[in-house]
């Protein structure tokens, strides 16, 4: 390799290395703030106290969904491995919302419970045919998408 090319290669690699270090440090510094959501146990531990509005993420506890008969108001409990938080929400829920579904709720704490202004359903990375899923668990969860009916 002739000297000119070697010099160019070194310059390019140095610029790239500098950019990698800069971005790496930025990402590392932002690590604390880049979390999209807090889990119920993190909220219970007071990690979300600095935020007026934040996102709460976890699973909808099976059987915890309570719909009010005359409005769009809905109450449910979001759980993670070792925490639970009751959530209140008024509005239209996404198709995937149901028992044992991962959800992300945006809102704020009001006393002991969380008041959501938006509820998003987090999809998981598993894809399988309905028949297979039905065969795997013959019980009730296998229905395609039945979010508009109140799950049992």
């Amino acid at each position: 390799m002739n000297p000119t090319r070697k010099r160019r290669m070194i310059i390019v690699l140095l610029v790239l290395a500098a950019a990698v270090v800069a971005v790496g440090l930025t990402v590392f510094a932002l690590q604390q703030n880049m979390n999209y959501l807090f889990t119920p146990s993190q909220v219970r531990a007071g990690q979300a106290e600095a935020y007026k509005t934040f996102r709460l993420g976890g699973m909808v506890k099976g059987g915890s969904i309570e719909r009010s008969g005359d409005s769009l108001k809905v109450g449910f409990t979001v759980v993670d491995a070792d925490g639970a938080l009751p959530v209140e929400y008024t509005g239209i829920l996404p198709d995937l919302f149901r028992d044992n579904q991962s959800v992300i709720a945006t809102g704020h704490m009001a006393g002991d419970h969380f008041v959501a202004t938006e509820v998003l359903a987090k999809h998981d990375e598993t894809y399988m045919p309905k028949e297979l899923k039905d065969a795997m668990e013959k019980a009730h969860h296998g229905k395609a998408v039945a979010a508009n009916e109140a799950p049992q």
Partner: protein, 256 residues
């Protein structure tokens, strides 16, 4: 250096030889891409069973996921070609890098649009600023930046060198896009198809997906060859071999 690069590769780097080589191969790549695409789409949209929780709406992954892979793959090709272009000043590498950018931008755009269309019914929102979506948007802006910078210069080769720098620096974003779902809590789900370990998708859904991946790769090669050929003709405008093609003295058996 010439010791470890075989002679045919050296020859292939020369514009007139690459022009003919790409012209011969391009129809084959295009035909195979169309066949694979037809098989993949038929398999994905007709043969594959409905998903257990999303029903038929999941079928957008047969477009969304291959496009997302191509967005990252093409960026990698562009960055490597940019590196070669900067260090060795090879015209062909410049052409490959600069002509890859619009194709990659198109795939990234398709990824963002299909993801958004799927996100509204499934997640409940068109867009959210989580790490995966944001870094994918940054990828699109990087592509647009490379295209814009390239065209901002009067002298094409100077523009290509400036844009190549941007392309190389932007490669940092590629691992961020890929690993964002592991590094941070995101709304976007994790990787379904894994090279290491079992994929989280059933076989009758996986094969159309992989067929679509092959189809998009072949399409990229065909599209790139066509674009690079046109670019080389323009870049080498005054040279003998271009003049011969233009005046039709040499039968290449192919139109540009």
């Amino acid at each position: 250096m010439s010791k470890w690069i075989p002679l045919w590769l050296h020859k292939l780097g020369s514009p007139p030889i690459f022009y003919r080589f790409a012209g011969t191969l391009r129809p084959w790549f295009l035909a195979l891409a169309l066949i694979a695409g037809a098989i993949g789409l038929y398999g994905g949209l007709v043969l594959a069973p409905a998903d257990y929780q999303q029903g038929d709406a999941y079928r957008i992954i047969f477009i969304h996921v291959p496009s997302a892979w191509m967005g990252l793959f093409i960026y990698g090709v562009m960055a490597v070609a940019s590196f070669i272009a900067l260090v060795w000043r090879i015209k062909l590498a410049e052409a490959v890098a600069m002509e890859s950018a619009p194709i990659g931008a198109a795939f990234t755009f398709i990824t963002l649009v299909t993801g958004s269309l799927w996100g509204k019914p499934m997640w409940g929102t068109w867009w959210t600023w989580d790490a995966r979506l944001t870094s994918e948007l940054v990828l699109l802006f990087l592509y647009l930046g490379v295209i814009g910078l390239y065209h901002a210069f009067e002298d094409r080769r100077q523009g290509a060198r400036a844009a190549a720098f941007l392309a190389i620096i932007g490669i940092i974003n590629v691992p961020i896009v890929h690993f964002s779902v592991n590094w941070w809590n995101t709304l976007h789900q994790g990787s379904t198809v894994r090279i290491l370990g079992p994929s989280k998708i059933s076989m009758d859904m996986l094969w159309p997906l992989l067929t679509m991946m092959v189809a998009t790769k072949l399409y990229y090669v065909a599209s790139l060859f066509g674009r690079v050929r046109a670019d080389l003709l323009e870049l080498e405008g005054g040279k003998d071999w271009v003049r011969r093609i233009a005046t039709g003295e040499q039968a290449t058996g192919e139109q540009a």
